[in-house]
Structures are given as structure tokens and as C-alpha cells.
Symmetry: C2
Subunit: 358 residues, 2 copies
């Protein structure tokens, strides 16, 4: 986590911006342009719309909507890149649009990385070891198996051979989120990839959603001492799994996702997980406030980064100067400015709450 912690200190801001585009969060000017481009694609070859199958029409619409997502993200990045240390694109929003959506996702990650931002891919992957090693491509490019296929003496660097770094499809993520339900052999391939590429992982421990208590708060027997909740047990496992991967700041490459909507859980976990950095979702739209996230930080005011998505990327909707009639460039400029102001406000709110808690 050293790189992330360094960037947080540099910018004086423990905020990560969630790049989770949805059509209703984009200015209508962008949606209209995507619809216009779709219509043009459908007619460019001189075909009428009704010569296309519904699947083809939808794939083309998805492609142009994905392009709109990327343009929207670039406007957000213009507004916040100097203010925040990190961004967290939620891959589900892009995956819903198929291959073009995934392309927009990786282009978004690259654009953020090019601006010096730390990129957390919110992918929440998790599977058995052999499959997890394929998902680990998010961090390390092609997993090992994809680099053991050279046959004959050919050793051309690049496709098919080489070391981990930079190989395989470039995802441009510094860290990803993963799910703990399968236990450590579903986590180890990600830890290995993170260690090889100076990356990090955030394991779901206590999620921000209402029904998270259904499983995460089940009372489990502790081998020594009292019963505890499942999320506490998972927290202990994460702290343990990361023991060999600690950096200069004392935090390991294995972080934990702890929702802002559970301040008490956060306080308990902060004590139990002294070497585990927290990624804290649920701030703002989901109900978490600045005071709620203070318990997730350590005594030095480090140890956590707080995510806000809608509060920043949809800030333009609350700007009275927006009109549906304004030009696309003007609308995108407004998106940038509103995101910048919202990010400044969040930064100041968090720093104030952290200062008052000392």
C-alpha cells in the first residue's frame, strides 16, 4: 500500500473517486450523442435499421454508450486528478455493455494511470486457485499459464514469454477488490500477482449494503474464547494472509473493504487489523458521513481511504447553471467543475472530522 499511502499524503486527501457511470448520471447531451452515433452506425452502410437484428442494434448501442462513459470519465478526471490520490472504476457498469464496455473500462484505467492516479479496479472477483490465477491478470497481465506456451526455441519478448510485469492484456489497475468466500487458495494468486507487480488487493470483509449482516454478522465459534461475528473472523484471516506482504508504512498489500455504514464494525476491525489498510465505500449516497468513517483510520490519521461515487461524478446535476440546451463541451466542462468542487468539499469534510477526532 506504500504507493497509495504516499499519494494520499502528497495530496492531503484520503478520498477515492468511484467512476461508476450509468446513463442517468451522464448529461443528456452525451446520451443524445451516443444515440445519434448509433443511428449513424446503423445507416452508414446504407442499411435501414430494420435490416439489423435486435442483438446487433443493441451491441452497437452498447458500443456508443461505452464511448460516452469514457468521455464522461475523462471530464471527471480533468476535474479531480489534481485533488485526489485514487479512482475506483466499478467494472460492473462497463461489463454490462460487453466487450466495448470492457475497452472503455481499461481506457478509463489507463487515462487515470497516465495522470498519476492510483487505480483500484472494483471487480470483486473470487474463484478457486486455478481460476483466480487467470483473474490475477487484472494485476499482472497474462497469468503464468498464459506465459508458458512458447514452443520451440522462439524467445521473442512480448507475446507468449517473459516475466510478469507488463505482460498480457494491459488492465492498468494498481489494485483490485476480491471476495473471501472461497478461502485463501482463492486469494493467494492475487497476493502473488500483487507482490510481483507492486500492486495491492482489497478483500471484502464488511460490505456497506443493508443485507450484508445476513451472512457477515453470523455468530461463529472462536477456537479460543468467545463467539464473534463472521466478518471479524474474515478480518483476522486477511490480517494473517497479509503478514508477509507489509510495506514501509506498516500496511500489507492485502487491504480490506469496510463499509462506511458500519462505524462500530470499523472501530472493532481497525483494532484487530493493525496492518490492514481499509477501502471504505458507502460514503454519501449510501448514507455514510465524515464522522462515521473516522473509526476506520489509525491514530496517525492514516490506514483508510474513503470512496465517493455519485456524490462527485453526479455533482453536476445539482449545479443550477446546467441546462439541457447547453452544448456538449459546455456540459462536460460543468461536469468537471462540479466534480472538482465536490471533491474539495469531501476532502475538507474528511480532514476536519479527522482533526476533531484527535
Amino acid at each position: 500500500m506504500d504507493r497509495l499511502i504516499g499519494l494520499i499524503q502528497e495530496k492531503g486527501n484520503p478520498t477515492v473517486v468511484g467512476l461508476d457511470p450509468r446513463p442517468e448520471l451522464l448529461p443528456p447531451q452525451l446520451i443524445d450523442q451516443a444515440r445519434k452515433e448509433t443511428r449513424e452506425s446503423l445507416t452508414s452502410a446504407g442499411f435501414l435499421d430494420d435490416t439489423w437484428s435486435n442483438d446487433q442494434v443493441q451491441a452497437i448501442w452498447a458500443h456508443h454508450l461505452a464511448q460516452a462513459y469514457l468521455k464522461f470519465n475523462l471530464a471527471i478526471l480533468d476535474g479531480v486528478a489534481d485533488l485526489v490520490p485514487a479512482v475506483k472504476p466499478q467494472i460492473a457498469m462497463y461489463e454490462a455493455l460487453g466487450p466495448s464496455g470492457i475497452k472503455a473500462y481499461t481506457s478509463t484505467c489507463k487515462a487515470a494511470a497516465d495522470r498519476g492516479l492510483y487505480v483500484i479496479g472494483d471487480v470483486k472477483r473470487g474463484d478457486i486457485g486455478s481460476t483466480a490465477s487467470a483473474y490475477a491478470a487484472h494485476l499482472s497481465g497474462m497469468p503464468l499459464a498464459l506465459r508458458e506456451t512458447e514452443q520451440g526455441g522462439e524467445t521473442k519478448p512480448g507475446y507468449g514469454t517473459g516475466t510478469t510485469q507488463g505482460l498480457g492484456f494491459p488492465w492498468y489497475e494498481d489494485a483490485i477488490t476480491i471476495n473471501p468466500y472461497l478461502g485463501n487458495d482463492g486469494v493467494d494468486p492475487f497476493s502473488k500477482a500483487a507482490d510481483e507487480t507492486d500492486g495491492d488487493i482489497f478483500v471484502l470483509v464488511r460490505t456497506s449494503n443493508p443485507s450484508s449482516s445476513q451472512i457477515q454478522e453470523l455468530r461463529v465459534r472462536h477456537d479460543r474464547g468467545e463467539d464473534r461475528m463472521l466478518f471479524e473472523q474474515v478480518g483476522d484471516l486477511v490480517e494473517e494472509w497479509g503478514a508477509s506482504l507489509r510495506g514501509d508504512h506498516g500496511y500489507s498489500r492485502l487491504g480490506a473493504v469496510v463499509g462506511a455504514t458500519h462505524p462500530e464494525a470499523g472501530a472493532t476491525l481497525r483494532k484487530a487489523m493493525p496492518h490492514t489498510f481499509f477501502l471504505v465505500p458507502g460514503y454519501g449516497a449510501q448514507g455514510g458521513a465524515a464522522d462515521d468513517v473516522v473509526p476506520m483510520f489509525d491514530a496517525r490519521g492514516s490506514g483508510a481511504i474513503v470512496n465517493s461515487s455519485r456524490g462527485i461524478i453526479a455533482a453536476w446535476k445539482k449545479d443550477p447553471s446546467f441546462t439541457p440546451a447547453m452544448s456538449l463541451p459546455a456540459a462536460l466542462h460543468l461536469v468537471s467543475q462540479a466534480a472538482k468542487t465536490a471533491a474539495q468539499t469531501m476532502r475538507d469534510d474528511l480532514n476536519r472530522a479527522l482533526k476533531e477526532s484527535r
Copy 2:
């Protein structure tokens, strides 16, 4: 699950073939072709390889490797389409190759669907409700949010409007696997999408990997009666969540993933989950045998489908008639034939074990 159960009965075979390509499972002829195509792409514009960045080279290699995966899958489908009711592509193998990999994944799903096969997308997604609704696009095309963006009176069917069916990027999956760690509000959007599209879901309950016991076997307090293991509690939740989604055969649209490596757990869960259909991974390469999976079936010999991946798709490797010198078409024909024979053997082994257990 009615459509899946119908196909299992029709083919007399409770087997699903896992389409999990890896370079080392493909005939070298296919890998060599992908390398040749990559070289041609790199030189087609008259550039030398060293004018490309490593990221560009890797993306182009990933594209051609993804094409090789698709060709390999088509050969497997040629061999097994008449024998098995379903296939289960593991998206991780394709996702590792980026957007081109996702395209190969959806093309594989479509090719299987076109052959009348039931397609289980092994995606193991899981997130908070609003995000899960985006992932639900795997079943329903674009999630609702993506269809609520029409502005002005424009009502052109297709992009931006309409009902759930067939809208959005077409993934061609009949069912997907999901993770239960976030509780029901991470599951409900998938249930809703499944119900709207005559699809199904398989929730991870007891996975086949060695470390699955680490969390899934934690002893949790039962509100009434004795302690039980976490996977039993999750099993009860899945049975409960599916109560309103039962079909003609008595099984709900919410299935469960129960690993072949845990026959005792399978027997316990089969009793506790009378309306939940089981997807059983871990057969063959992971160690599960025909007798191990018998407890996952109900008294009528229904209630479960068993996955085999390497045992069928890599069967060509054990065929003495394969030679690295043979042509690509000859190698692909061998892949088809070996997969067909392996699928027949597995079908007969399963049916024998089920018959003997009566």
C-alpha cells in the same frame, strides 16, 4: 431450471462441459497460428515489431489468442453438442485477455446457444444491489437503468427503450454463478433478471477447492437448535430465496454450487434443499468421482448437473494419434473426437453410478 432439466432428460446426461481454455490445453498448432497472426498484425502496416509498445504487442497477442480460444471451443462443441445438455464457459479465462477475450466468451456462448445448449456463465459475480443490477445484464441484457434513459418522445425500439428480453449487449447466457457473501440484496437483482428472462442462477454454497472449509465450514450459531456450518446456513438462505421461483419440476430458479469434492456436504445439503438444483464442479481433474456426486442427486436421479472441464476439453492430449506435426484441421478434428469420447464415458459413468445407487 425447467429448461435445463428438460435438456438433461432429453439427452439422458447430467453433464455440463466446462469451456475453460488455457494455452496449455490447446493444440500447439492453434497457439502457433495465433503467434503467426500476431506477427502478421504487427508487420501488416509495414511497421517493425519494435515500433510497437509492449502494451500494444500484448493486446494484439491477446486478441489472436482469444480467437484461438474460440476456434478451440467450436471444435469442442462439434464433438459434444449432441451428447450434453449444457456448457459452462469460465469467464476468467477470457477476461484475462481483455475486451477481445470477452468477445470470444460471448461468441462461445452464442455458438453453444445456437446449437440448442443451455449456457451457464461461470462468472461468480456478487456486489451491492445497485451494482448487482448492472451485472444482471449477463442475464437480461442492459439492466433497467440502461433502459430508462430515453428523453423526449423518441420511442424507437432497440437502443434505450423496451422490455427486458433481448435488450442490451447480448451475452447469450441462460444462467450465471454468483457469490452469496453480500446477502440477499446482492442476489435479488439476479433473481429478478432470471425470472424476467426464464433464466437461472447458481449461488456458491460449498465450493470444490481445498481451502473452502476455511470460511464455509465455520461453525455458526443456529437461532433454533444446534450449531451448524456456514455453508448449511447459506444453503438454507438459498432455498428460502428461491421459494417464489419454483418451476414445473419442483426446483427453483436459484440453484446452488456444491463441489464434488464434498460428498458428505452434498448429502446434507440435498436433504436440506429439496427445491434447489445443484451445479457440481470438481469432477475429474479436481478429484471428484462418479460415486462422490451421487449424493447430490435426488431420489429420481435428478436435482444435479456435474461439470467436467479438463477431462473433456483436454482429452485430445491423451490420444496417441495426436502429433505436433499434424495439420491444424486434423488437430481440431482430433480435439472434437477426443472430447466426444470423453463425454460419452462420463455420461455412462454417471448413469451407472446413479443406477447402482437405487
